[in-house]
Amino acid sequence: MKFKTFFWFVGPSVFMMLLFIAAPLVSVFIQSFQVTQPIMQQIEVETCTPGFLTQTCTTEVKTVPVIDEVTGKTQTTTEWVGLQSYRNVLQMDKVWAALGSGNWGDILQIDFWKALRFTLSFTLFTLPLVIGVGLLIALAVNNAARSLRGPVIFISLLPFIITPVIGSLSIYWLFVGDGILTATLERWTGQDIAMFAQSWTIEMLMYFYRVWHVAPFAFVIFYAGLQTVNMDTLESAIIDGANRFERLRYVIVPHLMPLIIFIALIHLMDCYRVFEEIVGFRSQAHVISLQWLTFDFLTPDDAGNRAISRASASAMLTMIGIVVLLVLPLRRTWRDHKGGAH
């Protein structure tokens, strides 16, 4: 392809990526080393608030921001603080203390490490399940009678269409308190069931929800891949006496390997950013994720404070985490790619 043609095809996409991904990333990177704060002053203020019948007035010293007389906006200062925000998020001093004293559990009391623990186990537990379940559905559909395939594909794709927040909220409503499913289970077992009272049940529900939601994606990809399996190889395997499992193990799976890696890559990236489940399941008391931690830093409190610097640091750490996770599968793809070229 001529360079000019190539440029006009790729140009808009590169421009959008620079504008909407690279530029914000650079600004977040810079902000993670800065702290912007209002200049505060202490003044004595008399405040009167209503009781039911009379007012109570109190005079107290309040810390309030200085307002610029010209612009009418709060005066702020921006300082370079080096790695301070990262230190505030990671709290390494506490981590070393916990490791030194042997109370490893204490590490999980720190928000970042608590979030990292959950995010990693969420990502790594659901990965094999998504690939396994996706492959199973694909094989089942592939072997189903032709007349059944359409409806089966339609039904198995449904979970993937649902908006994640809505999906997780539905699961929450089904299981919380006297939700339909909890009430039914309670009637069957005669026991009081509280799915949202301890962290392990919440985590199980989250894994279940994510696998249910993403498996159709894996299924579609695998199903497409199954259509291209070389029938000659498969038939010769049958003549060689390979049973169903051996054909799967030695013919089909190797053929699908690039697709498996593709799905693993997408799934790792998606899962490391787990967020909807935390909000939908209201699980903040028990489990939090890295993405939720960033969101929490960014949410202003009633007095309007937001921890932008820590949010930036936490976002950068999340990105580093994704890169580390993706290195292994990407290296493999790269090797295969180079091998294929020769």
Partner: protein, 406 residues
């Protein structure tokens, strides 16, 4: 500009043709408001809308939108609905205007109690008070011969009897959803034990005896609540009440009206209100007092501010209160306290009285720190002392970042 004027003229002429019977005058300045979405705000904004040319936005997430929307020039909203918690960022940024001249012009019906004064200047007009107080099922208490609890010890004694009798699923309901709600429970309990939130140098003082006692009392309630209490917010507790699943709760006064809503509630007329229980002998009721009211944006023209305030006064008039008497504990003239208001009034007039929720920057930071660190204590992952240390550290980190601490 020309087009805009033309459109405006069109709208105004249209307005002129329709009659607004319920409103004393016709509003000809387009106005917008942003407030919380509960029943009282619906009543007030509906009354304002009767004058025409008014668009109300009722949004429970208003607190995250309001500071930025009012900082825009011109401001995106003319009228803001605030409480003593959420007025802080507006006051700090100077995005709301003093109302004294407008009060002199249109505020004949306001009582002095309604004027929220900061340094002698009226910055907001309060319309109602709100507080978390004891709501209980009178029928159950009468059946079991339990007197109305006045202290948390009596609450636990009553809960023990109710639990033993097994008449409801859970004896106590609590708004302990992790985050803002859970932190508010501590903010209620802690001053009840005589605790102060801050030292003179803006460091926090929650890591104290009173803090430990407050946490222990909160932990005691867990024995009588739903095991999923860490996901239950005010609406959830309200529904538990309405469905007859709990027998008492320290719940918001603004939720009282829902108990007698025949469309939703199976316990109409059975829920009574009492003062918030005290935490220690001779202490104040373990709760905080809140007000809700209106503010007017600074970044709008004086004409718009004039029209906005006039409209707000129309919304906060006697007529509106008479039509919506049960929707809130109104501060507006014409309000007749019914049985639903008894608990809130008893709480607000108790001696020593419960403190108002402090509207300061530090309190916002501390509230967040509490909301994030307390769940670990209630799930049993951490003891009370370690939790308070964690709260202190979390507050210090964010206070330094916000410039409140050196």
């Amino acid at each position: 500009m020309y087009l805009k004027k033309l459109a405006l003229a069109g709208v105004v002429s249209l307005m002129g043709t329709s009659a607004f019977a319920a409103c004393a005058y016709e509003n000809d300045v387009p106005l917008k408001s942003l407030s919380a979405g509960f029943e009282a705000w619906k009543a007030v904004t509906d009354a304002m809308a009767e004058c025409g040319n008014f668009q109300a936005e009722l949004d429970q997430e208003f607190r995250t939108k309001q500071p930025a929307a009012f900082e825009a020039n011109p401001s995106l909203y003319h009228i803001g609905g605030v409480s003593n918690g959420t007025v802080t960022p507006l006051l700090n940024a100077g995005t709301i205007r003093p109302l004294d001249d407008l009060v002199a012009k249109y505020g004949q019906n306001l009582s002095p109690n309604q004027l929220i004064k900061v340094d002698g200047k009226t910055m907001a007009i309060a319309m109602m008070v709100n507080t978390q107080h004891l709501m209980y099922r009178e029928d159950i208490f009468a059946d079991l011969g339990i007197a109305t609890p006045t202290s948390w010890d009596e609450v636990f004694a009553a809960a023990e009897k109710i639990k033993a009798a097994g008449v409801v699923d859970h004896a106590i309901g609590a708004t302990m959803k992790s985050g803002w709600n859970l932190a508010q429970e501590f903010v209620n309990m802690y001053p009840g034990f005589g605790g102060a939130f801050f030292n003179a140098d803006n460091t926090t003082a929650v890591n104290s005896d009173a803090g430990v006692k407050a946490l222990e009392t909160m932990a005691k309630t867990l024995a009588y609540t739903d095991p999923e209490v860490l996901v239950s917010d005010s609406t959830y507790v309200q529904q538990q009440f309405q469905q007859g699943k709990i027998a008492m709760s320290n719940l918001w006064a603004s939720r009282a009206g829902a108990m007698n809503d025949e469309n939703e509630s199976s316990v109409v007329g059975k829920v009574k209100m009492a003062a918030a229980p005290i935490a220690m002998d001779g202490g104040a009721p373990a709760t905080t007092l809140w007000w809700d009211g209106i503010v007017i944006a600074a970044n709008i023209t004086d004409e718009e501010a004039d029209a906005a305030f006039r409209l707000a006064m129309e919304g906060l008039d006697e007529e509106m209160v008479k039509a919506n008497n049960e929707a809130a504990i109104w501060l507006v003239k014409g309000y007749e306290p019914g049985p639903l208001a008894a608990g809130a009034i008893a709480t607000a007039t108790a001696t020593p009285s419960a403190p108002p929720y402090p509207s300061t920057t530090q309190m916002g930071l501390l509230h967040t720190a509490l909301g994030n660190e307390l769940p670990a204590f209630l799930t049993g992952d951490r003891d009370a002392a370690a939790t308070l240390v964690a709260v202190e550290e979390a507050y210090t980190t964010s206070a330094k970042e916000a410039g409140v601490l050196e």
